[in-house]
């Protein structure tokens, strides 16, 4: 009898797939919607028994590089991140195309169209194309699982990293997944060419030519991929290219089967022969893709003359935001089906700090001294729960750009003459990308006040361990911050006056000050207490 299907989210299916496909190491930094890949691996009894590496890295760049190191040793590695995390890892990611792989390496990029929990909705497929790498884009949880096998196989066949790209909706949606029999891990085996990973110009030029020559082979693989399908239809007035998850929204609107010829596109580069057939046989092409109009643009070309292509650019689909069955329905020219609008009485309910969160006490003090003392406009924040202080009732922070940018933006603002120039960053974000910025401040003795809100967790993504725990003031000292201006406070209501005093003193200090309000995240604390009680 076949084994019962496992109920897995897209993220979990990828992790289970990698475990079953003989991965030796997972590398990642938490980021919605990719976090659950590593969390699943960490909780997996199989992964523990197989002694698979599965610990968080300081950031996506260090994760990507560690995965590359594992691949160098001939073993299979998976590195996962959210789309903006791939920007952090872009340097090693793009160069990994030129080094190539030894053991298979899959880079999972989880995109977030509609920005459910992100600063932008960039499409990672474009970055993979930029790096000239093959891409897998699952339409469902089963494919997400299967693509771990296919991804490692392709990666090793051509000695190239591959991208596995998915979006929030699949990452966080569950369905039944059938497991395959497990492959064993690879033995440690160094690359045959011991200079493969040495990107000195002379070597890199040669290897880049190989990567370019491989493009035709990657295309051949996409043409015959089991994940790409040409499904014929009688009505040739339109041909449809449905990428990844968009295929589901198409079929949702045609419960009895789509009358038009369809390409279900889940492996890239875009298979040219398949698309050529569709273009030749149909009058116009509708492209359904989540994210940016990458395929649509490629088909249209610069001159936009021969092929009639419709999609996000032409307005059949919204130019931004996540796809859904309704948007696809409209693009197909069908009438809307919609319930009633929500009544006016329904109020918005934005996210907010948890009751009892230490950030509230820290911000009460910051607001009193900085915002009320010097006016709005002096506080640069970062990526994490504490960004919520941009919203009422605080409305204290003035920036949220990328991991670590609070410190460096405050420095630039101080350079420009802003006083006071304050940064608010979390402990985990500080270790991810804030330390180098602090070093910049120290070198120039910039007149900044940096708040490192230490809640001993990567809280926004669900309370993963933080690399900073127990090390923050040592790190700051090591980077050269004067010990007298590293101030640790406990953000509690009863300590409000003390915090106000400390902030005032450090604003008056002409140079780098670091204030570290330290109190554990009440969510992680609650979980620990619960565990202890059981």
């Amino acid at each position: 009898m076949a084994k019962e299907k496992m109920m897995l989210m897209g993220d979990e299916a990828i992790a289970q797939g990698a475990i079953d496909a003989g991965v030796s190491g997972f590398y990642a930094y938490p980021g919605t919607p990719s976090t659950e890949i590593m969390e699943y691996a960490q909780h997996s009894k199989d992964a523990a028994a197989l002694n698979i590496h599965r610990q968080w890295s300081a950031n996506e760049k260090t994760a990507m590089e560690s995965a590359l190191g594992m691949s160098y040793c001939g073993k299979r590695a998976m590195v996962s991140m959210k789309h903006v995390g791939l920007n952090v890892a872009a340097d090693p990611f793009v160069n990994s195309g030129v080094t190539g792989a030894n053991g298979g390496i899959i880079v999972v990029a989880a995109d977030d169209p509609s920005m459910h929990s992100s600063q932008d909705e960039q499409d990672s497929r474009i970055l993979a194309k930029f790096a000239l790498l093959p891409i897998f884009e699952p339409a469902n949880q089963q494919e997400a699982y299967d693509m771990a096998f296919a991804g490692f196989e392709l990666s090793e066949k051509y000695k190239t990293p591959v991208m596995l790209r998915l979006t929030t909706r699949l990452a966080h949606s569950r369905a039944g997944v059938a497991q395959k029999s497990r492959l064993s891990q690879k033995e440690l085996k160094l690359p045959e060419n011991k200079r493969q990973f040495v990107l000195l110009p002379g070597i890199a030029r040669k290897q880049y030519k190989t990567l370019v020559a491989n493009q035709a082979k990657f295309m051949e693989e996409a043409e015959k991929s089991p994940f790409n399908r040409y499904i014929d239809g009688k009505d040739k007035s339109r041909g449809i290219i449905a990428c990844g998850l968009a295929y589901n929204y198409l079929m949702e609107n045609y419960p009895d089967g789509c009358p038009h010829p369809v390409i279900k596109l889940c492996q890239y580069p875009v298979p040219k022969k398949m698309v050529e057939k569709l273009v030749n046989e149909t009058k116009e092409i509708l492209v359904l893709e989540d994210g940016q109009p990458m395929v649509e643009e490629a088909l249209r070309g610069l001159l936009d003359r021969d092929v009639k292509v419709k999609g996000r650019i032409t307005g059949e689909l919204p130019r931004d935001g996540e796809l859904n069955p309704l948007f696809v329905r409209r693009a197909l020219g069908m009438a809307d089906i919609c319930g009633q609008p929500a009544p006016a009485i329904v109020a918005g309910r934005p996210p907010a700090f948890c009751v009892g969160c230490g950030h509230i006490d820290a911000y009460n003090a910051i607001k009193q001294v900085v915002t009320e003392g010097y006016g709005d406009g002096h506080v640069f924040a970062d990526i994490g729960c504490y960004t919520l202080a941009a919203l009422p009732p605080f409305e204290v922070v003035n920036s949220c750009v990328d991991m670590g940018a609070s410190i460096t933006m405050a420095k630039g603002a101080a350079d420009a003459g802003l006083f006071p120039a304050c940064a608010v960053i979390g402990d985990s974000t500080f270790c991810h990308s804030g330390m180098t910025g602090l070093l910049d401040c120290v070198i120039e003795n910039a007149n900044v006040v940096i708040f490192i809100l230490d809640n001993s967790a990567t809280a926004m993504t669900g309370g993963q361990d933080s690399h900073a725990t127990g090390r923050l003031s040592e790190i700051c000292k090591g980077l050269g911050v004067d010990e007298k201006h590293i101030r640790i406070v406990t953000p509690l209501k009863k300590n409000h006056d003390e915090m106000v005093q400390v902030i005032k003193e450090e604003i008056e200090h002409k140079g780098v000050s670091v204030i570290i309000p330290t109190r554990e995240c009440i969510q992680t604390l609650g979980k620990k207490n619960k565990k202890g009680g059981e």
């Binding site: 989210m9 919605t32 949606s173 589901n248 949702e252 069955p325 609008p341 929500a342 009485i345 993504t461």
Partner: protein
């Protein structure tokens, strides 16, 4: 058989345990299931929803289409109204009557209930109270699952089996009080439906 459900509430109220019970029951009944969740920023006290789709045929979309939901199942009354664009004409609203007030501009609670009552098919249940009466003050979610179960074509014993499966690790007492809360919700819905 097909059941498309929008589960709604506020981050932290635990709508996912309801999804887990109904979803697990669907699996044990041999049905197809897809369930989409919200993780990340909105879990911090913001509005959250989960799309739960059950069918005896293959399910394509992870999202319930607009106007296609057979049920809005909400653990908070105002949140049940937020998702009306998804509710089909024949669909049910099944909601807890107890507001979760974490915003300064929360509307008048009576006006919210009046809006829900405008819907032709609705069941408003004080799930907090029923849970307490069933000896399980933290069982509000199971009361709601019980009320909803009446409208989902999955046998009651499969649903209760799912509770046992999911909570068994926490001991027989937790299973017992969760099933008691589930039954209280189901009985209430039975009376209301008439």
């Amino acid at each position: 058989m097909r059941s498309d459900i929008i589960l709604s509430g506020v981050g932290g109220q635990g709508i996912l345990s309801i999804a887990a019970v109904i979803g697990q029951a669907a699996i044990s009944a041999g049905l197809h299931m897809k369930q989409s969740e919200v993780h990340g920023m909105s879990q911090r006290g913001g509005d959250v929803q989960s799309h739960l789709r059950i069918s005896d045929k293959e399910i394509f979309s992870d999202l319930v289409p607009h106007g296609g939901a057979d049920m809005i199942l909400s653990v908070e009354p105002m949140e049940s109204l937020r998702y009306l664009p998804w509710l089909s004409k024949q669909g049910w609203i099944i909601t807890n009557s107890q507001p979760f007030v974490n915003i300064p501009n929360y509307p008048d609670a009576k006006a919210v209930i009046a809006e829900i009552e405008k819907q032709p098919k609705h069941i408003i249940v004080n799930a907090d109270e029923l849970a307490k009466a069933a000896g399980n003050s933290r069982g509000m979610n199971m009361v709601m699952a019980g009320a909803a179960s009446l409208f989902i074509d999955i046998p009651q014993e499969k649903m209760e089996g799912a509770i046992e499966f999911l909570f068994g690790r926490k001991g027989p007492e937790i299973v017992k009080t969760n099933i008691a809360a589930f039954r209280a919700g189901r009985e209430f819905a039975e009376k209301k439906r008439g």
